[in-house]
Symmetry: C2
Subunit: 212 residues, 2 copies
């Protein structure tokens, strides 16, 4: 039992160390030895948990995907329906990216040309944004003339842009920056008087956002 | 003279081949031999022009920067002032990314973690967007309550998002996608009756965009 706990803890620190090294150096230059050293374990211990660097990257992406699912599920019951959930979810994603190196590295890995793989995290995010817009449209909360189809590209592109720019400069992930985005876009997106707040919903664990 | 022309042509095909290989494989895995073969020259000829892979990447980015400057300068005299220039410039950037592998690879190189370097292309683009918004504000063409400071993050993030997503799926660079972005954003951004068109300005060489 104690041994199993220790194994779990080692696995977790390896994922974290790998995320740090991938985010700093990129996937291809990152070395297994740097990662195991950073985690404070031997190369042998690393290989007990992960067959190779690719498996480690996979584990980083899986953990990031779990966190992303938690973030998007945690905002679903917002007053204000799907459109408020969308607003709150972007704050959740950006604070996830700012605070959690595994989330940041997970998105970064998906964006790397050299890994070839398509970014499942970005695909999940894109589908979630489209899903929220579709629901908001059904709820009658989108402004006249705005549809899921017409609004989704701008929202997906902007949030991916914040994510990518935030990988090099954390200022891009700040509440203030996201707030300025919603201040600009929400009046165009939301049916007037639906009471959707452009303010920060913060992390999924936090209370419902204060209405602005 | 003939020799000089041939040298120039070789240099140009090396830059193009490097751009293709960087865009396909990423900077770190890309090999000098793959690039010289793609350009149809020997490794020796490659090294006559470029000291190493880093110098090749630099040349790709420099050529992309020249094209980007041409695009942003080519839209400056639009009727509708700086805000129309901003709209037209985004179409120009996206068609540059779609049609010119050197532009696409140049932006891609700037985004790669493993190269460490900051993306000068993105920085130039960001400054240009801010500059256009500042001018539009002075020209009185921004809607009430909208300023350069409040609008710039959303615009920079969205265009970077289109660029990044377009690197994996060219659909993101299509006129239709950019049009849906401006259809959504422009009514919020522009002072009413300024006659700014959300339509495609196309390449900087094309005529002024049709008014929508």
């Amino acid at each position: 039992m104690v041994q199993q706990e220790r194994a779990l803890r080692t696995r977790r620190s390896l994922i974290r160390a790998a995320a740090e090294v991938f985010a700093e150096e990129g996937f291809v230059p990152a070395s297994i030895t740097t990662i195991s050293r950073r985690a404070g374990v031997s190369n042998g211990a690393l290989h007990f948990h992960f067959e190779n660097k690719r498996a480690l990257a996979r584990a980083v992406e899986d953990e990031a995907a779990q966190t992303l699912r938690r973030i998007t599920k945690g905002v679903l019951d917002a007053e204000g329906g799907a459109l408020q959930a969308l607003v709150d979810g972007t704050y959740g994603l950006m604070s996830g990216l700012a605070d959690d190196i595994v989330v940041r590295a997970g998105f970064g890995l998906g964006g790397e040309t050299s890994r070839g793989a398509d970014s499942e995290l970005r695909r999940y995010w894109q589908q979630w944004v489209e899903d929220m817009l579709r629901r908001a449209e059904k709820e009658g909360r989108l402004a006249q003339g705005v549809s899921c189809e017409s609004a989704a590209p701008a929202l997906v592109a902007a949030t991916v842009g914040f994510e990518v720019l935030g990988g090099k400069d954390p200022q891009w992930l700040s509440e203030q920056r996201i707030r300025s985005f919603w201040d600009l876009l929400l009046p165009r997106l939301a049916e007037p008087d639906t009471g959707i707040s452009p303010g920060s919903g913060g992390s999924p664990e936090s209370d419902a956002p204060a209405r602005g």
